[in-house]
Each structure stands twice: as C-alpha cells, then as structure tokens.
Amino acid sequence: MSESANSSNNSSGPSGSPQHGVPLVTEADIVAARQKGRELALGIGFSPGDATLIATAISELARNIVTYAKRGEIRLIPIELNGKRGLTVVAQDEGAGIPDIRQALQDGYSTAGRLGLGLPGVKRLMDEMEIVSEVGVGTTVTAKKWRT
C-alpha cells in the first residue's frame, strides 16, 4: 500500500501526522478499525458524539470492504489545516471497483440486498467525502471530519 497512490490527500502533512493503518480481512477487523478510529478521534479532541459519528462511518466503510472487496485497509490520519484539527479516514481496497459511483451514492441502492444506506450515510456522518474507483482495480474512499 504505497503512499504515492494516495494523491488526493493534500491537507495532511505526511511528515508530522502519523498514519494508523488497520488491515481488513475478516469482519472482526471492522470492530478493530472503528475502535481505533474512536480512540484517535477522542485524542484529537472530538466530542464523544462526533467520535461516535466517525466510528460509525468507519464501520460502514470497513464493512463495504469486507463484504464487497474481501480485503483492504482503513488508514486513519490526523490532519490540521489553518489551525483546525480533524481526522481523515481512507478506506482502500483492491476489489472489483464501483462501476457507477453516482448510483452507489443514492439512498436505497445496494447490490448486496442491504439497506443501501452505507455510502450516502457515511457522507452525512462526515464533512467531506471523495470516492475514486476504477473497475477491476479497486476503490478508495477518503472521508474527513473537522473538529468544531
């Protein structure tokens, strides 16, 4: 998982902000990823409420990977921009990719017969979200939340 593959990540200085990677292979890793996310969020100074929103977003993203791509990684990166602190969550997999991102972002859309609230839900829980996906190559979802 090379650093250079992640080009969209401008606001985080790789030098000063340590990354925390959580590999996702089994569904037990989903719980580990969201617990790590909550812990980091609280450390950055997010309220318990916001930390729960972040942990829930991580849970959704991690589950998408374990369900659809089978394996991947969640990277958690503390960020700072103009004195504002935040957390970037990068969910990356080398799965089949999402053919139609706009469709995947519609409420109620799911290819696995689920509620289909995963990605749209994550977008509402976080402040910013970006999806880069290529069919046959994989998907990277980058979501940020800023401390208020």
Partner: protein
C-alpha cells in the same frame, strides 16, 4: 462473545455487554430465537446500552430480531440506545421502524407489563 440471556418470569432479558462482530450478532439472533421457544417467553428485552456503534448492519439485525420474535408471538423492546448512537443513526438515516424502544431496562419492563399477556396455563 456470548450475550447473556436471563429469564425473568415470562420475559427474557438479553444484555449486549460489548461490541459484537457481525457473526456474533447473527449468532445472538439465533440463540435468542431458540430461547423464546424454549422458555415460552411473552416479552424480550434487548439491552444495547453498552453498544458504542449501531451501523446499518447492526440496525438491520436488531430490527430483524424484533420482527422474528413478533412472528413467534412475543413482544420485543430495545432498551438503552445511547444519545451519541441515536445521533449517528439519525444522521445515517437508520430507523428501527415499528420496533419499540425505551430509555432503559426499567421502562422496558414497564412496557412489557402493560403490553403482554400472562403465559398460558398448561
């Protein structure tokens, strides 16, 4: 991770003590369903106060549990959803539909007392 299920009169009280993996949650659903038949329960309380995250999967399975128990003739109350968890669920757009929820165990028991019939005489 086993979820303890206590029998109290015609009720079953299941307290989820810690974060559950998806498999744990589905296992809990199946065990609880067996208990409902085994103990001829009229009411079931699922205490989720210790759950720090309820995502789309957790919400769906809890809803399924309540509907399955309803099909077996008993009532379910989900108790103890934490305020942060409620916020995250609302932001995600997750609902438990017609499933009864109460603030805590005490309120849950009061609800069951008002809304269940005593067990049949055998």
């Amino acid at each position: 991770m086993e979820v303890p299920i206590l029998k109290q009169g015609a009720y079953l009280i299941a307290s989820i003590q810690a974060a559950l993996s998806d498999t744990d949650l589905l296992h809990f659903r199946d065990v609880l369903m067996k208990h409902v038949g085994l103990y001829r329960a009229r009411g079931v309380i699922v205490d989720v106060a210790a759950l720090d995250v309820m995502d789309s999967f957790g919400t769906r399975v809890l809803g399924d549990i309540a509907r399955m128990i309803s099909l077996r003739g008993a009532k379910t109350v989900i108790v103890g959803i934490q305020p942060e968890v409620a916020l995250a669920m609302v932001q995600m757009g997750l609902t438990l539909g017609a499933v009864t929820t109460t603030l805590d165990l005490e309120e849950g028991l009061a609800y069951l007392d008002e809304n269940t019939k005593p067990p049949a005489e055998r």
